[in-house]
């Protein structure tokens, strides 16, 4: 187990270094001169030179890469061009909002997804099962930004139940979190259903039934825990989907998180801010994946020997 954790952590570190490299590379991929793109044609030579130095563009890529790592580990991600504030401060302000949104959405997705999947697997091919499967299919096919707009219209405008944008109260969280959770609900429900159906055919489930356990006891005590192993992986992968989806949901609901900030940064050509946000997003995903892998090894001890 110790060796597995160490190996897995080392891979994550390598991936992290690769991510930083790609993030550094963004500036080199920009067609034309990024400094001129940011400052416009009317900038003075001094301004251009200063920004070039600040962005590190007067130095070769690999050196800039090393410097970026060196500064990033001390918490210095450069300065935002829009606000002239440190990128780290901008990110630190928006990050908790995105985390709150994503965590709420994951909670909704896990609760609803596993619940619906289990209900669906109890009577396969019944009408409840059909309904859940149809819902799951629609959930995976609807563009999330469009779902957000439909929710705004129905719940915010027509029924006037919930605020249509912004943040501050728990009510503000409901629509964005549900919108963001929807594709994950669909996927987790699907996974739970198929995994549970598979497990319910196993010998030990037959044994549990044969010794007279009630159906809920069989399901909750024996089948569900084993059925959830593949579901845990999916939940981990869903976190990445949620971070990406947050970009859309936050834009639709004017939620002041990293997702909205990254879109603003792109349009303002605020490259240091963009780099910082991409970095934080990708790092969180790597960390979550690491944790999921460790949880997976704990749930299913066979995995470490594989």
């Amino acid at each position: 187990m110790g060796r597995f954790i160490l190996r897995r952590a080392l891979t994550s570190l390598l991936v992290a270094l690769g991510i930083v490299f790609l993030v550094t590379l963004i500036l080199d991929l920009i067609p034309g001169d990024p400094v001129v793109m940011i400052l416009g044609q009317n900038a003075t030579a001094e301004q251009v030179a200063a920004l070039r130095r600040e962005l590190g563009l007067d130095r070769p890529l690999l050196l800039r890469y090393a410097e970026y790592i060196g500064r990033a580990v001390t918490g210095d991600l450069g300065r935002s061009i829009m606000t002239r504030r440190p990128v780290a401060a901008e990110v630190a302000e928006a990050w908790p909002n995105t985390l709150l949104l994503a965590a709420t959405a994951i909670g909704i997705a896990v609760a609803l997804g596993i619940g619906l999947g289990a209900v669906s697997a109890l009577r396969p091919n019944g009408w409840v099962d059909f309904g859940v499967r149809l819902l799951a299919l629609l959930g995976l096919s609807m563009p999330i930004f469009w779902v957000g707009l439909v929710f705004i219209y129905i719940f915010g405008f027509y029924l006037r139940l919930l605020p249509i944008g912004g943040s501050g109260t728990p009510q503000h969280l409901v629509l964005p979190a549900v919108t963001l959770a929807l594709p994950s609900v669909a996927l987790i429900a699907r996974m739970t259903r198929s995994s549970l159906l598979e497990v319910l055919g196993e010998d030990y489930v037959r044994t549990a039934r044969a010794k007279g356990l009630s159906e809920p006891a069989v399901l909750l005590g024996h089948a569900l825990k084993n059925a959830l192993i593949p579901v845990v992986t999916v939940i981990g992968l869903q976190f990445g989907q949620l971070l990406g989806g947050a970009i859309l949901t936050e834009t639709v609901f004017a939620w002041p998180g990293l997702g909205r900030l990254v879109v603003l940064a792109i349009f303002a050509r605020d490259y240091p801010l963009l780099q910082g946000i991409v970095l934080i997003f990708a790092f969180s995903y790597v960390v979550v994946n690491l944790l999921v892998d460790l949880a997976y090894a704990w749930l299913d001890p066979r995995i470490t020997y594989a």
């Binding site: 067609p31 995976l140 792109i266």
Partner: protein
């Protein structure tokens, strides 16, 4: 080298299998619905000019933001343009961008997977670690980073979606190659002296086409969603081209006065994605049921 020997090594029984396969597909109602939706979509995209009742760029400000009427079955947008005509032409934009993007992903990722699977050792390690890094970007973020660097526009979102989908194709192809390269008919082909390139092209590739086809179909659904998302954010297809995602974005500004402008193109996106999802699921059950738990 004796092509007859090689012929004998090829997997047998393709023609009757096709017929029984089609029959099985026809029994899968969901898959048939998917095939019909995708078929209609392709038809609409191909014959958009003949199907559009109006010029999709014709602005008639006196008719702006009209709810659906007999003359304009899906209503008009903020410039009085016919939404039905724009949705019809939008199908071409969506299909074209997604198709080329999935092609790019298949080309990039498939090549990487093929090389990694055959070369093994450090080439395999290196290629797959690069793919891991690409996979470690949350959905949408990689595409956004690419577009942020290269700038918005059709060509760049095709690249962005392609790069985003490449690792998945690489993993799939590599796994298939590893599974197949020790099989007897491949070893036998080597044994009778068939050159490596010929083995790959004639013996390995045909055998990994079915899972690739399933994957590509399901990735079309993802590509359509991603294209719509990028265009919605203003990073994708640029006006005046009618991309569905862009139409939702412009309709958003007056959602509360004229909800049909934003919601109708969204329905088109949903229908297209649903079609490819159903078709992909059906093809998977038909061609390679083992993939069921992996996709």
């Amino acid at each position: 080298m004796g092509s007859r020997t090689e012929e004998a090594l090829r997997p047998v029984g393709t023609a009757p299998a096709l017929v029984s396969g089609l029959r099985r597909f026809a029994r899968n109602r969901a898959a048939v619905v998917g095939a019909v939706i995708v078929g209609l979509l392709v038809f609409t995209a191909l014959f958009a000019e003949r199907l559009m009742p109006y010029d999709p760029t014709l602005q008639r400000l006196e008719l702006r933001r009209q709810p659906p009427t007999a003359a304009h079955p899906l209503g008009t947008d903020e410039f009085g343009r016919d939404i039905l005509s724009r949705v019809i032409l939008g199908s071409r934009v969506t299909l074209l961008v997604s198709l080329v993007a999935v092609g790019v992903g298949l080309g990039l990722g498939g090549t990487a997977g093929l090389v990694a699977g055959f070369a093994g050792r450090w080439v395999d390690e290196l290629l797959m670690r690069v793919m891991d890094i690409l996979l470690s970007f949350p959905y949408l973020l990689l595409a956004i980073a690419v577009v942020a660097a290269l700038g918005p526009g059709e060509r760049n979102i095709v690249l962005a979606i392609g790069i985003w989908s490449a690792p998945a194709f690489a993993r799939l192809v590599r796994g298939q190659v590893l599974a197949i390269k020790e099989r007897e008919f491949i070893v036998a082909a080597y044994a009778v002296g068939v050159p490596v390139v010929r083995v790959v092209l004639l013996h390995v590739l045909p055998n990994i086409v079915p899972p690739l086809l399933v994957f590509a179909t399901l990735y079309m659904a993802n590509a359509i969603l991603l294209e719509a998302a990028l265009s919605f954010l203003g990073l994708g297809v640029q006006p005046p081209w009618p991309s569905w995602g862009l139409m939702v974005a412009t309709g958003r500004d007056f959602l509360l006065i004229a909800p049909h402008v934003a919601t109708i193109p969204g329905l088109a996106i949903m229908l297209a994605v649903l079609g490819f999802n159903l078709l992909g699921d059906g093809l998977r059950d038909l061609l390679d049921p083992r993939l069921r738990n992996r996709l």
